[in-house]
Subunit: 250 residues, 2 copies
DNA sequence: GCCTCCAGAATTGTGCACAATCGGCTCGGT
DNA sequence: ACCGAGCCGATTGTGCACAATTCTGGAGGC
C-alpha cells in the first residue's frame, strides 16, 4: 500500500542540511574528548571559551554549548564564573568508574559468550581488523593511537552485545577512565596492554565458557592496579611541594 | 556613553548569587523530569521554549540550556529547527533500559548483601521511613507520589551501595524507564508494586544470601513484563488508525 | 616585611535582536 | 476537486553587546 510512488520526483530537498551543523558540534566534542583522553589536555587544564572558539573557528556560544555537554559527561568541570577545566577525578571517583566498568563490561561479556557459535563473519572480521590495528599501533609505539584504539575495542564489544544503551553508558565511562588514567598513572607503566585484548579476542572466538569474561575483569583490574590511587596528590598545594626542596637560584 | 555611575554607593550586593541561579536551572530540570515521569507530560509532547520560559518565569535561553541537558539524558528529544519533545522510546530502547537497570541494580544488590550485619542504624531508619512513605502513598492512592517514591527507593539503595557513579547512571536509567512505562503501560496495570519494595526491604534486613538480589531482578522483570512492548504503535500513523472507523460527521 | 584593599584587565554570564527554518494555509492551475 | 507551488505566522538558532564576577598586580597602611 504505502509502497507506491515509483516515479515521484524528489519533491523535498535532498536535505544534507542540519546534519552538517549538528555534527560540527559533535566533532568538537569528540575532538576535545580525544585530546583529553590522550593527554594533550591534562586534568586541571583551563579551557578558556575564547581560545577554544578561535581554535575551532566557531563562535563562543558554540563552544559554551560543547562545554556544557562535556560537563554533563563529567569530562570537564564547570565552575560558575570561573570557567571550564579538564576534570580531575578524585581517587574515589576513579575507583568508582572502574567498578562501574567492571559491572557493565562483565554483563557485556556474559552476553557475548552466550552468542550462538560460530560468531557471525562480520563480527570476526571486525575483531581481527581491530586486532591488526592495535598490533600496528603497538609496533609503531603510537601511544595516542593505542589509547584511542583501546577505548574503541571495548566499545566494539559493547556494540556486539547489541545493547546501545549499555554501550552509550560505557562510552562515558571509558572517557572518564581515560581521565582517571591520565590523572593517576604511575611513571613506569606500560598501560594499554594490547596483549590483554589479543587474549580476549582469542577467548571470545574460542568460546571456552567464562574465560572471556574472566579475562575482561582481570584486564580491568590490571589497568586499575597500574594507577596510583593511594598517594594523595590532590589540591593545588602539590605544586608548592614539588618545588619546596629546590634552592633559590639567586 | 553608558553608565553615568561616577558615584558608587553600595557597589556590592549581599551576593545571593550563583548558588541561587545555578540551582534554579537544576530545579527546572527536576521539575520537568518529574512531570515527565508522572505523565503530566506524556511522550511526544512538544516542549515550546517560550511556553516553558513563561511557565518557570525565566528567560528562553535558560530553558534552552535545560532542554539541552534533558536531551543529553535522553528524556527529551531535540529535533533541529523543530524543537524539543518529550522522548518517545522505542520498544527496543525500553527493553535496553530495563536490561541496563538489571545489570546495574544486580550489582548494587550484590554489594548491599555483602555489607556487614547488622546494617547501620541510619540505613535501617531510612529504609523504614521510606517504606512508611510508600505505604502512605499507596493507601492514599496517590499515583504521582508512588511513582516518585518508587524511583527514590531504587536510588536510595544505590546510595547505600556507596558508588556515586553507579548511582548517577541509575538516576538516568530510572528517568528513562519512567518514560518507557509512560509510553508502553497497559491499560489495566497496577504497576508500582509497593509490595515488591516491602519484601525487598525485609530481605535486605534479614540477609538471606542472594534473596534480595533475586527479588530485585524479579521486581524489574515484573515491571517490564507489565509493559506492552509488542503491539507496534509507532510513528504518527496511529492517529489515523484511531479515527479511521469514525464516520464523517456531516 | 607582610597583609589588606583596591583599580584594571580578562573572562564568564545573560538578555536581546535578528536571521533561518519549518508547518500550515491559501491560491492558482489542470 | 485534487495537487503542487509559494507565501505567512510561529518557532528555533545564533551572533552580539553589555552586565557581572573573578583574577592580577601593585600601592598603601600596619
Amino acid at each position: 500500500m504505502t509502497t507506491a510512488a515509483p516515479a515521484k520526483p524528489a519533491r523535498r530537498t535532498p536535505l544534507p542540511r542540519n546534519a552538517a551543523r549538528n555534527s560540527a558540534e559533535a566533532r568538537i566534542v569528540r575532538s576535545i574528548g580525544e585530546a583529553i583522553a590522550d593527554r594533550r589536555l591534562p586534568p586541571g587544564t583551563k579551557l578558556t571559551e575564547e581560545s577554544l572558539a578561535e581554535a575551532f573557528g566557531v563562535s563562543r556560544e558554540r563552544v559554551r554549548k560543547v562545554l556544557l555537554l562535556l560537563a554533563q559527561r563529567r569530562v570537564v568541570t564547570l565552575i560558575p564564573n570561573r570557567g571550564a577545566f579538564v576534570a580531575k577525578p578524585t581517587p574515589k571517583e576513579a575507583r568508582e568508574v572502574f567498578e562501574a566498568r567492571r559491572v557493565i563490561e562483565r554483563a557485556i561479556m556474559d552476553r557475548l559468550e552466550r552468542l550462538p557459535r560460530p560468531l557471525p563473519d562480520d563480527m570476526l572480521e571486525k575483531l581481527r581488523d581491530h586486532g591488526a590495528l592495535e598490533d600496528a599501533a603497538e609496533r609503531a609505539a603510537d601511544r595516542k593511537a593505542m589509547i584511542r584504539l583501546s577505548g574503541q575495542f571495548h566499545l566494539l564489544l559493547a556494540e556486539f552485545a547489541g545493547n546501545a544503551t549499555l554501550a552509550g553508558i560505557l562510552t562515558d565511562l571509558i572517557d572518564r577512565s581515560s581521565l582517571a588514567i591520565a590523572a593517576f598513572e604511575r611513571r613506569s607503566s606500560h598501560t594499554c596492554s594490547a596483549d590483554d585484548h589479543r587474549r580476549l579476542i582469542a577467548a571470545l572466538i574460542g568460546n571456552r565458557p567464562g574465560e572471556a569474561t574472566t579475562l575482561m575483569i582481570e584486564h580491568l583490574d590490571e589497568v586499575e592496579r597500574q594507577l596510583d590511587l593511594e598517594t594523595k596528590t590532590d589540591t593545588r598545594i602539590d605544586l608548592k611541594a614539588i618545588f619546596a626542596d629546590e634552592p633559590e637560584p639567586a
